[in-house]
Symmetry: C2
Subunit: 193 residues, 2 copies
DNA sequence: ACGTTTTCTTGTCATTTGGCAAGTGGCATT
DNA sequence: AATGCCACTTGCCAAATGACAAGAAAACGT
């Protein structure tokens, strides 16, 4: 097992020694999810901390009217988990679904927690993952408040263009906070330019 | 120094022993902020983890057009800090301002971090604070996407009514993601019922 | 290749919200 | 009481977005 991408990912984001990182990486197990399969189902506890090496996923939940709302997209070479459920050990409100076939390496809560306890340097990594997610969410919230839907669309297209290769427009629309109809119109206007 | 409220706050949220909690509480120092004063200024690093015993604060930043956007409100008996800046040691984009005279107890990053390293049980507390903030922000984001401004207003009024006693409507409006004009109209409609 | 299903686009119209400017009311200062 | 300041409200109109329905395009299974 190589797990090279995982090793590198941790190396770039923590101050743990190479030896420690090798130990850590050892504890991750390989996993694959087929296209359309679920990494996490609403109502269950998120117990896997998953480094996705290849593939693409999205997280979604339902609003009070029963509409799907996309809350996140996950690209290759990133961590997939639902912090609120994972750390509080309570059932998740979100589903995380593979939009393409996915593969990577996971570790379960219990074992990860042991690592956090035994390796102070790796703890920083865990915290950084949480804090980054926090900052990204805040950024997204502000952009929904301040920017027009068209600007949000442009920025998503520019910074996360791959999303458009894997997700349906309806899924992207709810992530942007608009309907699929509006997104379609925005795309038409945008194409003119 | 009593710090009773702080002691109780930690007790309810961590598995640390009473003895440990007493040690922890000892390290918090008293602090007060006058009405209108700043707990955190944009551009500086959030270095204080503040348990506010009395008072009311709000966090705000500016969008690209220079408009103030309220990002958070803090009530008495809660923790005040900016996670992204605090944990990454980078300058904050947000200001946190006292809307009334505030008092409470703070601890600095360095010392708090030492505590996290030396007391596993207290670490859970720190993580819980982060995770809770995360969940609250996600909830707010979803409500901006899914609910009408009027519903958001109603819910804020119902669950956080004290905000209306301390903050200006313009500040509340930007927190709700609308203009002060719209909020005013919503209030009029709402009053009719 | 075929028909079926799903996704995407478009039109029409109603609703929400914003931008701007004027007006109202409270409050403090003088 | 007059003044000025500030927060808030209101009216008017424009722009953005949603709801619904129909049609076009694409994806899918057999």
């Amino acid at each position: 097992m190589q797990k090279l991408a995982l090793l590198q990912f941790i190396q770039e984001r923590s101050k743990a020694t190479s030896k420690e990182i090798m130990e850590i990486v050892e504890l991750f197990k390989e996993n694959a999810i087929e296209k359309g399969g679920y990494f996490l189902q609403a109502g269950t506890v998120s117990d896997a901390y998953f480094f996705m090496e290849t593939g693409f996923m999205r997280a979604y939940t339902f609003d009070y009217h029963g509409n799907e709302v996309t809350t996140n997209f996950y690209r290759a070479n990133s961590l997939v988990f639902e912090p609120a459920s994972f750390f509080t050990r309570t059932p998740s409100k979100e589903n995380i679904q593979a939009l393409t076939a996915c593969s990577g390496y996971f570790i379960r809560f219990e074992r990860l927690n042991q690592l956090f306890h035994s390796m102070p340097a790796f703890r920083e990594f865990g915290r950084a993952m949480l804090v980054n997610g926090f900052a990204a969410l805040k950024q997204r919230t502000l952009s929904i408040i301040n920017e027009t839907a068209e600007t949000r669309y442009q920025q998503l297209l520019q910074h996360n263009g791959e999303i458009f290769q894997h997700a349906q427009l309806k899924q992207i629309a709810s992530y942007l906070g608009i309907t699929d109809t509006s997104l379609s119109r925005i795309r038409r206007e945008f194409a003119k330019k």
